[in-house]
């Protein structure tokens, strides 16, 4: 969890808004620091987290999580974190006979039309348990990242359907939050990815867009972060605010500063 980012977004683990979809997007840079931020943020907020990790292994997220002060292993043992390790499960789907539909069942079927098994996995993972007092505050779904599903052969509309159902269940029914990452290839020919990115942008309440610098690599400024609020329930004057900050990723934190105000420049 990066405190500076919390300040920019005006939130803390104790008083986060509920029922929101946050879209993370990275163009010409790696936006995974945002995923690590939200993972540790929601674990610290005592939420029940379902993490669909299709990009990295559990140990990768675990090591980064340790640096940010959360233990993924312990969270998993406590039942706070449900981790779907895409890299490992993909092998299981192909080489092991399954009794019940696997979340990534579509990998096995030649023309799987939808991601219903994956949605059912998410719903099952975040289903409120009736045993005694509520242990977790609210459910959270994290996906890293959705573009992988396109690469694995799903259509953009199928992925949008999956997100639609997750929104209906997690954000609306259970009043939880969702955070998803999508790459922006910046390539006009990748129509499916554009449809996915724009479709999600229209549904999300907050868009965080990490971009590489137009001038190329720099040692002291790693990129810029554009924050776009979409608040449909507020008057036009206060909605659709957009801010841009530059950032530098450090060992255990990320520092943000106004454009052109890097300490190395001043």
């Amino acid at each position: 969890m990066f405190v500076e980012l919390n300040n920019l977004l005006n939130t803390t683990p104790d008083r986060a808004e509920q029922g929101k979809l946050t879209l993370l997007c990275d163009a010409k840079t790696d936006g995974s620091f945002l995923v690590h931020h939200f993972l540790s943020f929601y674990l610290k907020a005592n939420c029940k987290v379902c993490f669909v990790a299709l990009i990295q292994s559990f140990s990768h997220y675990s090591i980064v999580g340790q640096k940010l002060g959360v233990s993924l292993t312990m969270a998993r043992e406590r039942g706070q974190l449900v981790f779907l390790e895409g890299l490992k499960s993909a092998v299981d789907v192909v080489f092991q006979a399954q009794k019940e539909p696997h979340p990534l069942q579509f990998l096995r079927e030649a023309n799987a039309g939808n991601l219903k098994p994956l949605f059912e996995f998410v719903r099952e993972a975040l289903k409120p348990v009736d045993s005694g007092e509520a242990r977790w505050t609210y459910p959270v779904l994290l996906v890293d990242d959705l573009s992988v599903l396109l690469s694995l052969g799903m259509g953009a509309v199928a992925v949008l359907d999956f997100i639609h159902y997750c929104r209906a269940t997690v954000c609306w029914e259970l009043k939880g939050n969702m955070v998803v990452l999508v790459h922006d290839s910046g390539d006009a020919e990748d129509e499916e990815n554009d449809i996915l990115l724009n479709g999600l942008s229209h549904q999300s309440h907050l868009i965080l867009r990490a971009e590489g610098l137009a001038t190329g690599f720099c040692r002291d400024v790693h990129g810029q972060l554009r924050i776009l609020w979409r608040r449909p329930s507020q008057p036009a004057v206060h909605r659709d605010q957009s801010f841009t900050y530059q950032y530098k990723i450090q060992d255990k934190s990320v520092s943000f500063f106004a454009k052109g105000m890097s300490p190395a420049v001043l």
């Binding site: 939808n114 942008s201 229209h202 979409r230 004057v237």
Partner: protein, 300 residues
């Protein structure tokens, strides 16, 4: 203009973008027609019923009929009986009505439908719904129908958007500068020239529409009455108009390239001595006149 969008009836397209979302305007227009006593149906695919109804007072909420396709549009959850025929079935069911009350149908959103249904089917249903009042036969008993379609422009190619905009009576494209939202309205009335207009607006928290003056920078050149209009034809270096005399002189002039019958005669008449002309040729000193090898000077 923006507040009288629904007066015309037919299909009204609201084209929005990620930066300038159009759902608040859709809600403002829905509120307006509910206040006018119209029957309002909402085909909700993108947000939950609670989120859509949020901000309306109970009086308006009572008049809205919400068809919920947000919770389980594809019948994955099997929570309840799916609407027969899906969203299009619901739309078609709205067609079959006989009461004379005007109806507004809000599609939230048209993009959701367009991504999941064939464009031609959707266009046919939209045409049937939005033109049912002009059908011959039962036109006397059915009131005016307005269909409000929210379209996220970035999601679709030019083909489907073009098809929908040719169906639409009115197109509203949202945009804005400096935090101020604007709507560009293109309106096609039957047998009239299409009109277009840009209007600045904001939506108040209770979803009433607040029309505004545009940003002062833009409107200044049009609104200042103190600067007299300049006539660009006053200081010209040439004549724009001819007097009667000048016009006659111009008309009587024969231009050198004009072909007349005298000219033709002069060209066709054979000149004396033309048939007996000769070519005189005097060879140059260095001319090669060797008939055997005409190319020996080429040094090959």
């Amino acid at each position: 203009m923006l507040d009288s969008l629904l007066a015309l009836g037919g299909l009204v397209l609201l084209r929005d973008s990620v930066e300038w979302e159009g759902r608040s305007l859709l809600k403002a227009l829905v509120k307006k027609s509910a206040l006018c006593g119209e029957q309002v149906h909402i085909l909700g695919c993108e947000v939950s019923e609670e989120e859509f109804r949020e901000g309306f007072d109970s009086d308006i909420n009572n008049r809205l009929v919400y068809h919920d396709f947000f919770r389980d549009p594809l019948n994955w959850s099997k929570t309840e009986e799916a609407f027969p025929g899906g969203p299009l079935g619901a739309l078609r069911a709205m067609c079959k009505r006989t009461d004379p009350v005007p109806v507004t149908i809000a599609l939230d959103s048209l993009s959701w439908l367009l991504l999941r249904l064939p464009c031609t089917t959707l266009c046919q249903v939209l045409h049937a719904v939005s033109h049912q009042d002009s059908c011959p036969g039962d036109s006397s008993s059915v009131g005016k129908v307005s269909v409000l379609g929210l379209l996220h422009e970035e999601l679709h190619g030019p083909g489907p958007v073009g098809a929908l905009s040719s169906l639409a009576q009115t197109e509203v494209t949202l945009g804005g500068t400096m935090g101020q939202a604007s709507a560009h309205i293109l309106c096609r009335r039957p047998r009239q020239r299409p009109t277009d207009q840009t209007q600045w607006f904001s939506i108040l928290p209770d979803f009433s529409l607040d029309l505004q003056e545009g940003p002062s920078v833009e409107s200044q050149p049009y609104s200042d009455p103190h600067i007299p209009p300049v006539d660009p034809t006053t200081h010209l270096t040439f004549n724009l108009h001819l007097s009667k005399k000048e016009r006659e002189a111009r008309d009587s002039l024969i231009l050198p390239f004009q072909f007349s019958s005298e000219k033709q005669q002069a060209l066709l008449r054979p000149r004396p001595g033309q048939a007996t002309s000769h070519i005189f040729y005097e060879p140059d000193a260095y001319d090669d006149l060797d008939q055997e090898d005409p190319d020996d000077d080429l040094d090959i």
